[in-house]
Amino acid sequence: MLKIENLETFYGNIQALKGIDLHIEDGEIVTLIGANGAGKTTTLMSISGVVPPRNGKIILNGKDITGTAADDIVSMGLIQVPEGRRIFSELSVAENLDMGAFLRNDAAEIKRDMEYVYQLFPILAERRHQHGGTLSGGEQQMLAISRALMAKPKILLLDEPSLGLAPIIVQQIFDIIKKINQEQGTTVFLVEQNANQALKIAHKGYVMETGRITMSDTASNLLADDEVKKAYLGI
């Protein structure tokens, strides 16, 4: 589904990605774990065309999308939920969702999808007329995910959805991610620092350190790996 070869991205002359290879199959949940500043966000930004890479290839469904504009990539069904939620605080919940469907014109289906996300997160339905900025952190994350779902993703890129949330909310968010993957068949690429939770719902995992992939294996193997345990699971 998504294949990344030797991806290199720079901020000015600082190299944030030093040749990354990733492979994500259709219907999988793949997680990318790593410490702060490892380059996880940069990886997602490069894939979704917001920060174009300098070298390497991004292949989506057999098509080379390197250098394609961000909005074209969205219309191909690759949607990112950016780090820190970044919901539109002065737009209402429903308007935020409508912005997710910005490139779509199928009114009836947009409405159906909106009902679907309200079903996933009933609290959003309750707050549909409230401004995004007035939601709690957990609700904002739910809104950010829902907004991305409104774009009809074939592959969903999530950047640290658990960041700054209470454990019980984190659990809820991860359950929903799993549910979206199973019910909708949406492929999920999950970037996390919360390695334990992420590896538990993922099929496959990558470990990243200072712009490089240092490990890749099935999620269960990584969970059992001594080094991963020491560095990321705090065991």
């Binding site: 979704s48 917001v50 504009a69 961000a70 909005d71 990539i73 969205v74 219309s75 949607i79 990112q80 939920v81 950016p82 970044r86 919901i87 539109f88 605080s89 002065e90 737009l91 209402s92 429903a94 308007e95 409508d98 912005m99 997710g100 910005f102 490139l103 014109n105 009114a107 947009i110 409405k111 909106m114 549909r128 007329h129 401004h131 907004r147 991305a148 774009a151």
Partner: protein, 423 residues
Amino acid sequence: MSNTSTEQANRFISLKDIKKSSFIALWFMFLTFPIMVIKVNTVNNTVEWRWANMIIIGVASFILSHVWRLFMNRRDGKLSDEQKGGQTVEKLTLRQKLDQKPVVAKSLSYAVLVLAIIFPLISGMYQTSIMITALLYVVLALGLNIMIGLSGLLVLGYIVFYGVGAYTYALLNLHFGVNFWVALPIGGIFAMIIGILIAIPVLRLQGDYLAIVTLAFGEIFRIVLENWNDLSFGPSGIANIPRPTIFGLDLNVSQATNLTYFIVLAFVLVTIFVIKRLEDSRIGRSLVAMREDEIASEAMGIDMGKTKLVAFALSTFWAGVAGVIFAGKTTFINPSSFTMWESILVLCMVVLGGMGSIPGAIVGALIITLLPEYLRAFSEYRMVIFGVVLVLVMVFKPDGMIPSIRQKYEFKKKPESNMKEAE
């Protein structure tokens, strides 16, 4: 609980306040010493020491500073009251009260409309002419509001597009005898084209940089007009631009002024209507989304470049049309009508009224154009009073006189109409 804080706010004198005010008084006495106290008498070659002035300044600045502090305390007290009160004792602004009573709000706006329509009939030509200028600025403020309030693009040289409209009409009329009504849309479209041409190179700029570059464009525009004699006749400008007429009638000055007034009024209404529709449309919301978070917008597939161009195009059109009307009203234009000062004035209107708010832009424009007019009695002090009013509003109403309340998106109530608008 609100009692304690209002008591605090109302306390008239505290030691700390007196200290601060005394310090400010001393500082002002020191600052104004050279001009207010020392006076060189050039006839006798002596120096006069006017110590009385120093005392007056000291006392005046002490009192002013004290009154100022008192008001600030009140304001802060009010703020903390509101925070404490939460949902229970929420104080409603006038706007919110009006929103809750749509009948009152509606009849109020109809009353204003009727008043606006009969205005030229009950007042003289001079007043009508002032009101035309005020309404032209209302259009400018509404147009700039799309850029600044809605889209968050800090554009400073907005008056350029007004100038483009005015010169479009003047030149088309001069060379091709194009009449007012034909020039009206052409002026708007031409301003839009110039807007897009300016927008393309500045697409990647944000915030202060965008402000500086557009300010520079504004100055370049004026300097070009002043020096390109073959095109614009330089500083001497273009005279004898025909006033608008209707049905080929031969109108005298007073009738033409009244006609212009009604044209502007109609145009203001059209502008308000279109901008209101825009705000509730998907394009309008994408402008707000861009203002709030460019990265999130991009992640949702909203192309920043296209959206900025849309903002420029939607905003500059109004200035162009207003410019055509302006040329028709004054019958004479030259570059001095389109200086940086004018751009800043329009910006003040938007900020004073409340960014992103339609009634705010209207009130802001009316205050800023009409206040100096009616303060003429105070002649040289009018700009000082004007400045003080601006500062006071910004201190006590930092969001502007009528802050924007973004319309809520009622998906459930009327799904059909909303979905249509969304396209």
